[in-house]
């Protein structure tokens, strides 16, 4: 199979998911006697192209008209390159960028697309893919019909490709800029470094309960761990009632319903009213000094102890890594 990996970057470095996508592509190529190329699109992207060349052969498309990753232009470019280079399989990490841009490219290429792939096998030169459905409650095994095929993979499911000693070739690709659509104009991007993601949207939620004594402690322990993990903060009703957290933090029956990939419940006993708001989380961690707390019954991992001691250790340990 001829495989094209669509790289994602911030013009300076590759995003880590791209390395996982390359690893996936390499594994499929090895089983199908195939070849992998990594497409780097943007403007002033020499350093990214060089970095990509440490893990894969690179196609570099550097143009001022591609400064911002607007969907219609990028999708057209990806589709054109796919056709020109007779690509069989387009791969990208499953990110908001790929869902937007590669998803549209797939629409231009006939719609044979599987999203969020977490596992695969090759059977008779055909890819058999595993992907989650129903927010991860179900895993489906699927194959794609049609050609070319487009796949986004979950970065967490594949080990990132590591750099080899030899740098691969970088091929410069030219495009006809005048043919690119121009119906979306990019204005700006505000990075979220200053504020945390919303609790209903975040992949990771760190939540605090009654064991937390005041808002400073909440910020230091719950907020600190959330920031370390890039997650959102939540709380039980008890903390809202006590005025320690604002109302929109409340996870539970009368608050928000969340189902993140990771929910860390710190000092939350686990009343059903709270569980109603988070029990569909994929992985649940309970940290509580009461070994009998009901939260442990719904948790995947439990840590018994004083969170005032454990959480600073946890933050430090994660920070050190």
């Amino acid at each position: 199979m001829r495989i094209l990996v669509v790289a994602e970057h911030d013009t300076e470095v590759l995003r880590s998911g791209t390395r996982s996508a390359v690893a996936f592509a390499n594994s499929v190529a090895a089983q199908t006697d195939g070849e992998v190329e990594c497409l780097v699109i943007g403007h002033r992207i020499a350093s990214v192209a060089k970095e990509a060349a440490s893990i894969s052969k690179v196609l570099c498309l550097d143009s001022e008209s591609l400064t911002a990753p607007v969907a219609d232009r990028y999708a057209r470019v990806i589709a054109d390159v796919t056709i020109q280079r007779k690509i069989d399989l387009v791969v990208a990490a499953s990110t908001s960028y790929a869902k937007d841009v590669v998803g549209r490219a797939a629409g231009l290429l006939g719609g044979s697309m599987a999203s969020d792939v977490v596992g695969h096998t090759v059977q008779d030169d055909k890819l058999v893919l595993r992907r989650p459905m129903f927010a991860g409650a179900v895993t489906a095994t699927v194959t794609l019909i049609g050609h070319p095929q487009i796949i986004t993979i979950r970065g967490s499911a594949y080990e990132p490709a590591v750099a080899s000693v030899d740098e691969s070739e970088i091929i410069t690709v030219d495009i006809d800029e005048s043919s690119l659509p121009n119906h979306i104009s990019f204005e700006k991007i505000e990075t979220r470094s200053s504020h945390r993601p919303d609790v209903t949207e975040s992949r990771i939620v760190v939540s605090g309960g009654r064991a937390i004594k005041n808002s400073d402690d909440f910020e230091r322990l719950v907020g600190g761990l959330a920031d370390q993990l890039g997650g959102a903060t939540g709380s039980s009703r008890a903390l809202v009632d006590a005025g320690i957290t604002p109302n929109d933090f409340q996870v539970g029956q009368t608050g928000k319903i969340v189902a993140p990939e990771l929910y860390i419940a710190m000092g939350i006993s686990g009343a059903v009213q709270h569980l109603a708001g988070m029990k569909n989380s994929k992985v649940i961690v309970a940290i509580n000094n009461d070994p009998d707390a009901p939260m442990f019954e719904v948790a995947d991992y439990g840590l018994v102890g004083d969170l005032y001691e454990l959480v600073p250790q946890l933050i430090e340990k994660l920070h050190a890594e």
């Binding site: 960028y97 998803g103 179900v138 895993t139 194959t143 119906h183 991007i189 439990g302 890594e321």
Partner: protein, 252 residues
């Protein structure tokens, strides 16, 4: 500016319920499973209503569904919430995103819609494709994962929720916009609207009338449910917790 907003809505199992798989793994067990309007599509309906309510011009909100007769109830929900019209494309076959987008592209052109507002993904298959496919097929601009919409002289200014932060783009109309969770909070239907919706007619179109053949793109081989029972592993300390979350659960 008078405007027609087309809102494709999908009927999905209520994912707050336990999802069970048929014993042979051929699909989900639908018995006793309540169905709802895909929550992201409900957000799209709500946004369309808000656009209508905040506009001085004529805005028509058309909810479209594809499926069997069972779908009527969910389309009626959209009417009860406040959509002006509801249309059912009768199609018994289960469709993947590609075929949904192809059908919608025909309807969008027939209806001469100015804006398509739809959920960023359906919570059953979680594909997150149909909106992008539709925009590609129509050759319209797209703005996915919208968390805020404002009309401007040049079109629609959309704040998009991306992994890197909030991105702002302006799309020229007509366009496809897919909705993210934070765009709005859908309302409940009011009592008078529920009663009114019962009397409204749901327009019906047979899939065959659209002049399309289904082109399957994704074949389901098997489904399995992750074990629902949790078995709490008591970890010895912070170090073990980090190792397990990273290497075993792969969530950090």
């Amino acid at each position: 500016m008078n405007m027609k907003i087309l809102v494709p809505t999908k009927r999905v199992p209520d994912t707050d319920q336990k999802i069970r798989i048929r014993p042979d793994g051929s699909g989900i067990d639908e018995e006793n499973l309540p169905y709802v309007v895909n929550p992201f599509d409900a957000i799209a309906v709500e946004e369309a209503l808000r656009i209508r309510e905040n506009s001085n011009d004529e805005v028509e909100v058309l909810a479209v569904g594809i499926g069997s007769d069972d779908y009527e109830r969910e389309l009626r929900t959209s009417l009860a919430i406040g959509a002006d019209r509801a249309m059912l494309i009768e199609c018994a076959a289960a469709l993947d995103s590609w075929n949904v987008a192809r059908i919608l592209s025909v309807i969008v052109q027939r209806e001469q819609a100015d804006l398509v507002l739809m959920g960023k993904q359906a919570v059953d298959d979680d594909s997150n494709q149909a909106g992008q496919f539709l925009a590609a097929l129509l050759d319209w601009p797209q703005a996915t994962f919208a968390s805020k919409l404002d009309f401007t002289e040049n079109g629609l200014r959309v704040a998009r929720e991306t992994d890197a932060g909030i991105e702002t783009v302006v799309v020229r109309l007509p366009a496809v916009v897919t909705t993210d969770l934070r765009l709005n909070e859908p309302r409940y239907a009011s009592l008078p609207n529920i009663l009114r919706a019962r009397k409204k007619t749901i327009e019906r179109l047979e899939f065959q009338q659209l002049g399309l053949e289904i082109e399957p793109r994704i074949q389901l081989l098997h489904m399995e449910v992750l074990s629902t029972g949790r078995n709490c592993i008591r970890v010895s300390g912070v170090d073990e917790l980090v190792v397990r979350l990273r290497d075993e659960a792969k969530v950090i």
